[in-house]
């Protein structure tokens, strides 16, 4: 008879999580090496949604690239639209009418709310509570209706233009926005009561995948993921662009209120709190927006002088940066897109060591990644 220690032969198990898995938020494949339920190693494999946007960027003109930016992050199309417009304007030195800038800020912040709503909803669905997801969809619907008023589209907007926006705000839009804000603000408390401080939910998230501030900076995390680690950095504040300097808001950071600073719960809470700040920004922007034109005089085919620019803006999933090299023709000679989700995936393998399978889902959800942004 063999002794029990010899009889117990254990073996690591290789599991393919994805590319089709309900909780990978798209076609992400994670190669899990597990010891039972404990993950020894989780290696992300990306690229299933690679469409070569950077190569496409070299083939089309600056204005033509606008609809492609919608597909960069389909949950925050407006933010990407505006980021591209700002980048090209910076490259070509185009002045934009103030009303257009306000409109861009309004739609960006609305889109930030709707994107964070999806982040919140899908995250709770990943944690096994499906109900909050539908609550968040209910509110997002209103934002989509507002965007439909503005540009006729509900998902891929193609609204911003180099030099302004494609159309002025329709009548009644600002009133409807105000109505939405008044309706939406109490809903955040509802979410908190419903799920945020639920004991099971907190236990699932607190102290899971803790990222120190130093690691967060070193690994290039941006946006809510960086702020979740307690680093107070927001491009809207620290590298202000557009009319953000005229608007008052606070930068939300993780506080470690339910566990170690920089855990999944902190990242989650940053997004919840940012929705409040977006409401604040929107209230001011709606009150301040001036009358005037919404489009600068920009020729349809323009040739920016040869040069390079790196412009980055605060998108819901972190910093979206466009590195454009112009050689004086109508097309960019090189376009590099730096996205928050792509860089965030870099730290994934490091933070998931020793977690459990259920935590992998929590980490993916707390990073709020989106695959078209990772693969471009």
């Amino acid at each position: 008879m063999t002794r029990p220690t010899e009889a117990l032969h254990t073996q690591e198990m290789l599991i393919n999580m994805g590319p089709q898995h309900p909780s990978t938020h798209g076609v992400l494949r994670v190669l899990l090496r597990t010891d039972g339920e404990v993950v020894v190693n989780a290696r992300p494999d990306i690229g299933y949604l690679h469409r070569g946007l950077e190569k496409i960027g070299e083939r089309v003109t600056y204005a033509q690239f606008m609809p492609f930016t919608d597909r960069l992050d389909y949950l925050a199309g407006m933010n990407c639209n505006c980021a591209w417009a700002w980048a090209v304007e910076k490259l070509a030195g185009i002045e934009v009418p103030e009303r257009a800038e306000y409109i861009r800020v309004i739609v960006s912040e609305l889109n930030r709310i709707s994107s964070h709503l999806i982040a919140f909803g899908s995250f709770t669905a990943d944690m096994g509570a499906f109900t909050p997801f539908l609550y968040s969809i209910r509110e997002r619907e209103v934002v989509n209706d507002l965007f439909e008023m503005v540009c006729g589209n509900r998902l891929t907007y193609n609204y911003a233009r180099v030099g302004g926006v494609s159309a002025d705000l329709p009548q009644g839009f600002l009133e409807k926005t105000k109505e939405f804000l008044d309706y939406f603000e109490p809903k955040i408390d509802e979410y908190n009561n419903l799920i945020s401080y639920n004991k099971i939910f907190v236990h699932r998230l607190a102290n899971v995948a803790v990222i120190s501030a130093k690691d967060a900076v070193g690994y290039g995390l941006t946006g809510p993921n960086l702020r979740g680690s307690g680093v107070k950095f927001d491009l809207r504040k620290d590298e202000p662009y557009s009319v953000y300097p005229k608007l008052e808001f606070d930068v939300c950071v993780g506080t470690g209120e339910r566990g170690a600073l920089g855990d999944c719960f902190d990242r989650y809470m940053v997004r919840i709190n940012e929705m409040r700040q977006s409401i604040r920004i929107l209230r001011q922007a709606v009150a301040q927006i001036p009358e005037g034109p919404v489009m600068a005089k920009v020729p349809r085919l323009f040739k920016p002088a040869a040069g390079e620019v790196y412009f980055r803006s605060e998108c819901p999933r972190g910093e979206t940066g466009f590195y454009i090299i112009s050689d004086g023709t109508t097309n960019p000679s090189r376009l590099k897109i730096r996205t928050g989700s792509f860089v965030t995936m870099n730290i994934f393998e490091t933070v998931t060591k020793g977690l459990m399978i259920a935590d992998i889902v929590a980490v993916i959800g707390s990073f709020d990644i989106i695959l078209p942004e990772i693969d471009r």
């Binding site: 070569g52 950077e54 190569k55 620290d238 390079e308 730096r338 792509f342 995936m345």
Partner: protein
């Protein structure tokens, strides 16, 4: 710019020039061999403290390749670019993922799409394209394949 001057003073010829004409942020052009050293200095020097690598991009300048590093200092709030030029026939340069861990994925992406090899990287594999993909699509002389595993493209 002060950073360029101090780098020039420390590394001499390894730091070639400062590109600031129509380029934002300005770039310091350095040689490939001295890159890790310069990177480490940029990160650790109290007056510079570039703790964050925002973006790492490969560029095909037709006659040669360039790798551009956009750096940002969260501590001090300033930005700078580093640029390394590589000849077309020898596309290797040292990796900086030991300095900025964020570099790893971006280096893999640059390797994948440009074929620029980062020596000393902790994990350099194709990232976006399949392992057996031929060629590097973002090169200007990239030939589009007709088919992939029998699938017409």
């Amino acid at each position: 710019m002060a950073i360029f001057e101090s780098l020039k003073g420390k590394f001499g010829d390894a730091v070639a020039e400062l590109q600031s004409e129509a380029v934002r942020p300005p770039f310091v052009v350095v040689s490939a061999a001295s890159l890790p050293e310069i990177a480490r200095l940029l990160r650790d020097e109290p007056a510079m403290k570039f703790d964050s690598l925002m973006c790492l991009s490969g560029v095909d300048c037709k006659d040669r390749f360039a790798v551009a590093y956009h750096l940002h200092s969260l501590a001090l709030g300033h930005r700078i670019g580093l640029k390394v030029f590589l000849p077309r026939e020898n596309t290797t340069l040292p990796s900086v993922d030991a300095v900025w861990p964020a570099a790893n994925f971006m280096e893999r992406e640059t390797f994948d799409l440009f074929g620029i090899v980062f020596t000393g990287s902790k994990d350099l594999r194709r990232i976006l394209l399949p392992e057996d993909w031929e060629g590097h699509p973002l090169r200007k002389d990239y030939k589009y394949p007709e088919s992939y595993h029998g699938v017409k493209l």
